[in-house]
Amino acid sequence: MQDAHNEEKNLDQLYRDVLFEHYRRPHHKGELAGAEIVTKGNNPVCGDKVTVYGKLDAQGERLEEVGFDGKGCAICIASSSMMTETMRGKTLAEASAASDKFKAMMRNEAAFEVPPEVPDLEALEGVKKFPVRVKCATLAWTTLKNGILAYQAGKTGGETVEACETNTEKE
């Protein structure tokens, strides 16, 4: 049973070419000057940290630019890169919802759907089969959501929030 289970998953499903492309040339990587949202996220499983940046429109409602920085594994960097593509242009409420949805998808709590505007996201579906790596993929997404919450709570500017995925199962 265990062997059958293991045979189903294949490293090539994890390390897809599209993923390598994002890893080697990540989109919107590097500090984003003037961002209202600046949040650090920490993956306690490996100790990796990313910082996520969000620059808002004049109304403070919509993410005009989204960026990230930090060190992480290929999956983390690629997923962060795709996150910036997904979130750009969304309202804060939409972005929060997109973060939740992505997390649910990666945890097999929702069907895996690729938004038409970011087809590359499909490359992350294989990660679902490697539970220890799911946190790598969700790190930047959770971090942005935490940043949005902090911003909405009035913690604007350089303020950072630690976004820690824990191993507590939530129902």
Binding site: P44, V132, R133
Partner: protein, 424 residues
């Protein structure tokens, strides 16, 4: 999914449990001892025997999956982590906890009780605050509070018993009225008297008084359907080895809201968020309380044990034991000069029978029973305050489980006659 719907295995009260068929699943019960005598094991209150499936699950773990858990990417580490975390999920269904993360793995029930005393009580109680225990508690539910009392000036008070071995609940009411009680810590089932305490009823009283209710479930989880949501306590502790599982594993269930407030107990790997050379921050529960390499193979055995119990049906097990209580109390009446302790009503009694001959010491009784192939325990059963009340430093105790048949009780009665003859 709604939590209240996560029921345990469907109760199949209609299918009567046949203890002799059940016993076939337990290899140790097939052996002969002392020159070919059948082993009559009546010491399940101390530890239960294990079915093949439990032993085999641990075997298989070491043959196929053994690795350290967490932070591992290789195939064995993944298997081990899955086994470890799935056991947690399974256990949360078994006792109907709200969340898998409310199941904290410990080394035994004793560590679980200490974890509450140390991580919760030490943090939130101050000198003069009261902890209420009872006369029938096991040392595991006394000594942790004594250690706390010594360190923090907390006051430990005990509920006394009625003549039939039930709690004098009016004393609890009086203590609670005093307004200083922060924690009430009671056993669900007495390991000497067999008394089943009305936990849900007590939980209401305790909560109305704004206190926290800690329950020692060691002798309950193996024998009764236990649903922590309907019982309504705040912490519930028990051991794997008394419920068909292995040694080296215990459980603390606690409400997540309380676990989250608690300090860690043991410090080390797997329970930290971040460590520098001079400070550390801690993980969320349950990780915060599971420092170091946990008992992993043991959780594989635990899963098999829970499956065995669910398949058999906890309601069936309870029905069988209730019948055995009636039968045993009746049969023991026939033994001259034998005093049997605990409630006579099978509705509030589990299959535990402490007894004594007025003029024969419990250790001599147990020794001679052993010679007849009947394994009982003699001593204070880690309940010295209760034995003080019984007026005897030690008793002999026979305790039953799902594999105990009426024939075993008959063998006990016969062997007790031999004791009488030898000491005549």
């Amino acid at each position: 999914m709604s939590n209240t719907q996560k029921a345990a295995a469907p109760a199949r009260e209609t299918i009567a449990l046949d203890p002799r068929r059940v016993a076939q699943d337990f290899p140790i019960l097939k052996q002969k001892i002392h020159n070919g005598k059948r082993l009559v094991y009546l010491d399940s209150g101390a530890t239960s025997q294990k079915p093949f499936t439990v032993i085999d699950a641990m075997n298989e773990y070491y043959h196929v999956s053994n690795a350290n858990v967490h932070r591992g990417l290789h195939v064995l580490a993944e298997r081990a982590t899955e086994i470890y975390e799935c056991a947690r999920t399974r256990m949360h269904f078994f006792i109907n906890a709200y969340l898998p993360g409310e199941i904290v793995w410990t080394k035994n029930a004793t560590e679980a009780m200490n974890l509450v005393a140390h991580g919760y009580a030490r943090k939130f109680l101050k000198a003069g605050d009261e902890v209420i225990v009872s006369r029938m508690e096991h040392h595991a539910n006394l000594v942790p509070w004594h250690l706390l009392a010594k360190d923090k000036g907390v006051v430990v008070k005990g509920i006394e018993l009625n003549a039939d071995g039930t709690l004098r609940l009016e004393e609890l009411d009086a203590f609670l009225k005093g307004g200083k009680v922060k924690i009430v810590a009671l056993t669900h089932v007495s390991n000497v008297l067999g008394t089943i305490n009305p936990i849900a009823e007590i939980a209401k009283k305790v909560h109305d008084a704004g206190a926290i209710f800690v329950v020692d479930g060691c002798q309950a989880v193996p024998h009764l359907p236990v649903n922590v949501q309907t019982l309504g306590a705040d912490f519930y502790a028990f051991s794997a080895h008394k419920m068909l599982g292995p040694t080296g594993l215990g459980v603390l269930w606690g409400r997540m809201s309380l676990l989250e407030k608690m300090d860690p107990f043991l410090g080390g790997g797997e329970m930290i968020e971040e460590v520098t050379i001079s400070s550390s921050t801690y993980k969320e529960p349950p990780g915060r309380f599971e420092a170091g390499t946990p008992p992993i193979a043991e959780t594989a055995g635990m899963t098999a044990a829970v499956e065995y119990l669910m398949k058999t049906g906890m309601a069936n097990i309870r029905a069988h034991e209730k019948e055995l209580v009636s039968y045993t109390l009746e049969r023991l009446k026939s033994v001259k000069h034998l005093k049997v302790f605990g409630p006579a009503n099978p509705e509030i009694r589990a299959g535990v029978f402490a007894f004594e001959f007025e003029d024969i010491h419990a250790h001599d009784v147990a020794q001679i029973l052993d010679g007849e192939g009947v394994a009982v325990r003699a001593g204070h059963h880690c309940a010295q305050p209760l034995h003080e009340w019984l007026g005897s430093p030690s008793t002999a105790r026979a305790s039953a489980y799902l594999y105990t048949a009426k024939e075993d009780i008959d063998a006990l009665v016969k062997a007790l006659e031999t004791v009488r003859k030898k000491f005549a």
